[in-house]
Symmetry: D2
Subunit: 385 residues, 4 copies
C-alpha cells in the first residue's frame, strides 16, 4: 500500500486576532491529512510575519497579499506548490479570491457566505462550471455527524411527511457596540463594504437556512421577514426572524440574532412530520432527540460503532459514544472529505462538503431576506439558483 502524503494548502486571512482561521488550521491538522505550507494571513505586515512564525511557515512562502500568494505558488514545482487554498477573509474577498485561485489551478475551500450577493456569486459559479478544480464552502455545522443523522432520519421517512421546521440561532455577543470598541470580529461583520448587504443574516442566518435545507432536503421558497439593528449606529442588521415555506409543503420559522444577551451559539433545529419530530442543538452536538408520535422520546447519540446510526453519521465519528467531539471535529470532517475528493480526483463539489450550489442558495437567502426586511410585501420568493 502506498504511503499517504499530506495535502499542501495555503491560507488567506486568519492572522492573529481572527477567529475562523485558527479553526481551519486545527481542523486541517486533526486527522493528519493536510500540511499548511504558505499564507497571506494579514495585510498588516507585523501580524502576517508573527502569524507565519508561530505556524512555522517558511518566510519564502509568507506572502504580503493574496495576489502575490497565488502568483508565486502557481510558479512553484508541482510537488512543492500548494494544492488547495483556504479563504478566511471578510466576505467581500470571497468571490474575487476564489475565482482567481480556481483560475490559477488551485482547489478552494472558502468560508461562508460564498460572496456578498447573488449576482457576484453567480460569476464564481459560472467559472466553476468550467474547471476541474474543487470548490468547498465551510459550513462547519454540516460536518457534525448528528446533522447527517438527522438528514437520514428525514430521508428514511421516520418523521413522515414534514410539516414544520423551526430553526434558530440566538447569539449575544453583539449586544453592545463592540465595533465602536475596535473588536476586529465585530468591525468587519457590521461594515457593508466588507460583509455585504447583511450582517446577522450573512453571518449566522445563512447557517440556519443552510441547516434547514440540508436536513429537510427541501428548498425554502418563500419568506416573510423582519430585520433589525438594535444597537445605535450599527450599519447592518444584528437580528432578524422570518416565516417561511418550502417546496415540500412544510412551513416554519427562522430566527437569527446576535443581540440575545447571554446566549452563546445556540443554533437549534426542530423538524416535525406526521409521524414524529426531531431536535438537534449545536451546543450538544452529539445528541438527537427523536420524538416518534405516540411512543417514548429516544435519545440518539453519536459515536464510532454506535448501533442504530446511519453510515453518514458513523463515518464522521472518531470516538466511541461518551467521548464528546465538538466544533473542530465537525470542521475536520469537511477537511477529511475534501482530502478524499482531492485524492480521488473528484471535480466540482467534494463529496460530503457543501459546494457552490449551497453557496448560491445561501446568497439567494441573504439577498431575499434583506429585501423582505425592507419590503411591505408579505411574502418574497427566494429565486431559483
Amino acid at each position: 500500500m502506498a504511503k499517504l502524503a499530506k495535502i499542501r494548502f495555503g491560507m488567506i486571512g486568519g492572522g492573529e486576532g481572527a477567529f475562523i482561521g485558527a479553526v481551519h488550521r486545527h481542523a486541517a491538522a486533526l486527522d493528519g491529512q493536510f500540511e499548511l505550507v504558505c499564507g497571506a494571513f494579514s495585510r498588516d505586515a507585523t501580524n502576517n510575519q508573527s502569524t507565519g512564525d508561530t505556524l512555522g511557515i517558511d518566510d519564502a512562502r509568507l506572502y504580503s497579499s493574496w495576489q502575490q500568494l497565488l502568483q508565486v505558488e502557481a510558479s512553484l514545482p508541482a510537488d512543492q506548490r500548494m494544492e488547495m487554498l483556504v479563504i478566511v477573509t471578510p466576505n467581500q474577498l470571497h468571490v474575487p479570491i476564489s475565482r482567481a485561485a480556481i483560475a490559477a489551478g488551485f482547489h478552494v475551500f472558502c468560508e461562508k457566505p460564498a460572496g456578498i450577493n447573488l449576482p457576484e456569486t453567480q460569476t464564481l459559479a459560472a467559472d466553476l462550471a468550467n474547471t476541474d478544480r474543487l470548490y468547498g464552502l465551510a459550513h462547519t455545522y454540516l460536518g457534525y455527524p448528528m446533522v447527517w443523522q438527522a438528514r437520514q432520519l428525514v430521508q428514511s421517512g421516520q418523521l413522515g411527511t414534514l410539516r414544520k421546521i423551526f430553526v434558530e440561532y440566538p447569539q449575544g455577543w453583539l449586544t453592545e457596540d463592540l465595533e465602536a470598541a475596535s473588536n476586529k470580529q465585530a468591525s468587519w461583520r457590521t461594515d457593508p463594504s466588507q460583509a455585504g448587504n447583511s450582517g446577522c443574516m450573512a453571518d449566522i442566518g445563512t447557517h440556519t437556512f443552510g441547516l434547514a435545507e440540508f436536513i429537510s432536503q427541501q428548498q425554502i421558497t418563500e419568506i416573510c421577514a423582519e430585520l433589525k439593528s438594535h444597537v445605535s449606529g450599527r450599519r447592518l442588521d444584528d437580528d432578524g426572524a422570518a416565516l417561511f415555506r418550502t417546496n415540500g409543503g412544510a412551513s416554519g420559522v427562522l430566527i437569527a440574532s446576535q443581540i440575545c444577551a447571554g446566549e452563546e451559539n445556540a443554533l437549534k433545529i426542530r423538524l416535525y412530520g406526521d409521524k414524529g419530530g426531531l431536535e438537534w442543538q449545536q451546543m450538544e452536538p452529539n445528541t438527537i432527540i427523536l420524538r416518534p408520535h405516540g411512543a417514548p422520546v429516544q435519545v440518539l447519540r453519536a459515536g464510532k460503532g454506535q448501533p442504530g446510526l446511519g453510515i453518514e453519521a458513523l463515518r464522521r465519528c472518531r470516538l466511541p459514544a461518551g467521548h464528546p467531539e465538538g466544533y473542530l471535529e465537525a470542521m475536520a470532517n469537511l477537511y477529511s472529505d475534501f482530502a478524499v475528493a482531492i485524492r480521488r480526483g473528484e471535480r466540482g463539489t467534494p463529496t460530503g462538503v457543501p459546494g457552490i450550489a449551497a453557496g448560491l442558495r445561501g446568497m439567494a437567502f441573504i439577498d431575499t431576506i434583506s429585501s423582505s426586511g425592507q419590503s411591505d410585501a408579505k411574502w418574497l420568493q427566494i429565486p431559483n439558483t
Copy 2:
C-alpha cells in the same frame, strides 16, 4: 380570630371525559378555601348524574342546564347558594354564561378564551363595568410563581431595555385526525360553532400571547402571521406562527402549534434586553434561567422562603425549593387569590388573577391573528381594547 368559612362554588361543564373541569376542582380544593356545592356538568344526563355522584354533589343541586343552575341557585338563601361560578364549557358559551351569572349576582371564574370574538367579549366587558361582581379568567400559566418572578425581573430592570421576545407552545396531540375518532377534546376545539374563529390560536396561541404581554408588561401591537390546518378535513387552524412588535420597541416571534408530533405542552418564553435575558418553560416550571450579559448564567428556583425571589413569586410557593410544584398548584394560586378577593370585597378583577382586560386582549389577538393568516398585508394592527 374568626374561623374561615369555605367559599361555595358551582361549575358548568367539566363532566366525565372533559379535561379542564377536573383541573379546576383539584385546584379549588388544594388550599382548602373552596367547596363545590352545585353543578351542571354535562348536557348528557347520565354523565351529569355520574359526575355529580362521584363529586358528592347533592342531587337537589345537580342541574340539567346552566340556565337552571343560575335560576335555582339565585333563589337559595344567601348562606347556602353558591358564591362563585366556574365556567369550563366550550368557548361559545363563555360570554353568554358569564353575562347571565354576573347578572344573577355571582362571581365568575371562566376558562379562556373569554369568548368567541372580540365584539362578543366587549358586551361582557360592558356588563362588568357596571357590577360589583368579580370576574377572573383562568390563564393557568399566570399562576406559576416563576412567571411572576420573570415579570418582576423585567420590571426591576435586570434585563435592561427589552429587545426580543420569543414565545412558543408546541404540542403534538392533534397530529392525527382525533376529531374523526370522536375524541371529545379534539372535537369541540376544531368545531367553529363551539370554538369560534380559531382552533390552535384560541386554544394555546392565546397562552403565548398572554404570557408574553404579562411578563414583558408591554402590548403586542402588530403581528404578521401564517396559520395552517395540516390535517385533511380539519376545519380550524391547528398551527401557526407570527412575527410581532410591541409598544415598547421590542419585537419577537410567537409560535403555537398542535401538530408538532411528540411534543407535550412545551410552552416556553425567552426575553432579551440590553442587559440580559431570561427563559422559562412550563414543563420545568420551578426554574428560571437568567442570563446576565457578560456574567455566568444563573438558575433561579422557586421555593417558599427562597432567597432572592420577589414577593409575588414567594407568596405563590407552598413548599421549600426541591419539592416540585406543578400545574395544579399554578391554578390553585389563581383560586387562592380569588378567595382573598371575595373575602376582601374586591370589585372587578381579583388582585393576582387575569380578568376581563386580559380577556379582551386575548380576543383581539385571536381575531387579528386569524385575519393576518388570511391577509396579504404584512402587518396587521391589534386593536386597542
Copy 3:
C-alpha cells in the same frame, strides 16, 4: 350510585412553622376525599389556636394535647368523630400516638420514620397484628407515578437481573448550624430526644433505603457505612454513605447528606441489570430515563392515558403528559389510596400505601446504619423484620 361522603380526619402536629403538616393538609384536600375536622397542632396554645382558626377548625375540636384529642374524639358519635388520624409530630411521638390511636379505634397515617428505633416500632407492629384498623406510613416519594413505573420496569424484567443500585439524597439545608439559630425544623431533627438515634439517616436516609427496596423489590441485607456530623456541636449525623448488598445478588451505594451546600432535594436512584438501566430523580419526577443495553435511551413520561405506562403509574396521574404534577400530588396519591382502603374496609396496610412492614424495614435500616457508622466491622447485617 351513592354519593361519596368525605372521610373525616384529625391531625396531631403541623402547627405554624412546621413543614410537613401543611403538605398533608394540601394532599388530603387535593382530590376532595377528606375533611379535616379536628387537631392538636401545637403544644403552644397560641400557635394551636391560630392554626385551628386558619384552617377553620371548630374550637370544640381544637385540642390542647394528643391525649385529649384521642379521648374526646373517641367519645363523639360515629357519624361525627374523626375516622383517621394523621401524625406529623417529631419522631419520638410516632409510636406512642400511633398505638394509642389504634387502640382508640382510629386509622392512622403517620409520618416516617415509624418510630425512634426498631424495638419500639415492633411494639406497634404487634398491636397492628391484632386490630382491624389501617396503618399507613407517609413515604411521600412512594406516591409518585414514575416510582411505580420504575418498579414495574424492574418487575417485568426490562432491566434483566439487577446488578447495581445507586441511590442518593443530597440536601444542603443543614450546611450551617441552623439549630443554633432556632430553626424549628433543624432543632428537633438534630435533637436525639426527639429524632431518635439518627439525624440525617432517620430524616432522609430512610427515603433512599425505602425507595431502593421498593423499586428493586429486593431487601438490603448488609451495609457498610460511614456517618458524620460536619457542623460543630451538632448532636446527630448530618451526612453519611454506605455500601450495601441485597438478597437478590445486587450491590450498591447509598448516600444521604444534609450538608451538600446548594443542593435542594436531589433524591435520585439508578438501577442497572444485565439488560438495561433506569434513572429517576425526585426533582424531575415525571420522567424516567430508560437505558436499554445496546439501544437508544428512552425518556418515559408520566401522564394520564400515556401510552406505554403500567396500570400502577397510570392510575396515579391526574393530568395528561406535559402538565407537571409534583410533590403534593405524590402525597395525595397516598391519601387517595388510603381513602379507597377505608371505604373498602381493608385491614392492616392500605393497598398502595407503605405500612408497618416498610416502617420496620426503615427502622432496621436506621439502627443498623447508625451502628455501622460506629463500628470497625466492615459489614453489618440488617436484621429481618
Copy 4:
C-alpha cells in the same frame, strides 16, 4: 522570531483495532506542534505495516518491536530521531518501555495506569529521579479546561472547607462477555497478565481517584471498598465502589463500574464545602455547575476569553464559548503543555501534565482498593508515595 519546528515523536502500540492510539495521534496533531515519525504499532506484522501506511510512516522507521524502535531511533542523528515516545500498549508494558525509553534518552508520554502495581512503578520513579528526560502520564480528563477551573474554585476558597467528594464513572460497555467475543479492548483489560491486578479500577477507577485528588488538592488516605466481577468467567473486577477519607478532613464516595448497562462515559465529580458546591461531568465538559450556599446556582462555561475563568482554564480553550470542545481537545492540551516543556528544557514532569507522582498515587490506589475488595478490615490506608 524563530520558526517553530515540530516535535518528532514515535508511538508504541496503537495499531488498527486499538482505541487510545488514534486519540493520541489526533491530539498530537491538533495544534500543529508534533510530527509522528516512527512507530511499532502492533506485534502483528500485517497490522503494523497497514497502520504505518495509513499514517504515512516511512518504512525504515516502522519497527517490529518496541526494543527495535528504541535501539534504532537512538542511533539516528539528533535532528532526525524522535524526541518523545508515546506508549499506548496494555498496562504490563508501561513500566518496562518507559524505563528503557528514558534510559535511551527519550521523553516519555505514557498511557495510564503508570504500571501494573506500585512496587514496579517505584522502579520507574527511581529512574526518573536521575534523568533530565520528561515523563508524562496521559490522564486525558486532566486536560479539560473546566477541570482546571474546578480546581481553581476549590483553591480560591469559593467552596470553603471541603466536606464531601462524590466521584463516579459508570460505563456499560462490559455488560456482556465481550472478551469471549474476542473484542480486543475487552480482552486485554480483563486479562491479569496484561492489565495487572485490577480491571475496572485500573482502567477507570484510577480516573475517578486522580480527578478527585486533582480538583480537591487533597490526598485520599483511607478507603473501604467492594469490588465485583459480574460477568461469569471474567477474571478481573468490572465494578466497584468505595467510601473514602482525605487528609484534608473530607470524606466521600467513589464509584467505577463497567457493567452499568446503557451508560457511556459518565464520569462526574461533585465537591461540597461549607460555602458551596460544584459539579462537573465529562460528557458535558464545558460546563461547571457552581452552587454557592444560599445563592442561585451558577453555570460556568468554558471559552476563550470567557469572563470569570481563571488563567489555567482560559489557556486550555481554543474557541469562544458556544463552540464545543471535547475529549480530543482535552488530550491535545496535555500535548501542548508537553511541547512547551520540551522547548523550555523542563525536567521531570512537564508543567500542566500529570507525571510520575500522579502515577504512583494511582498505583497506590489500585493496589489498595484491590486489597480492600478482598479484605474484612473496614478501612485500608493508601500508602504514601
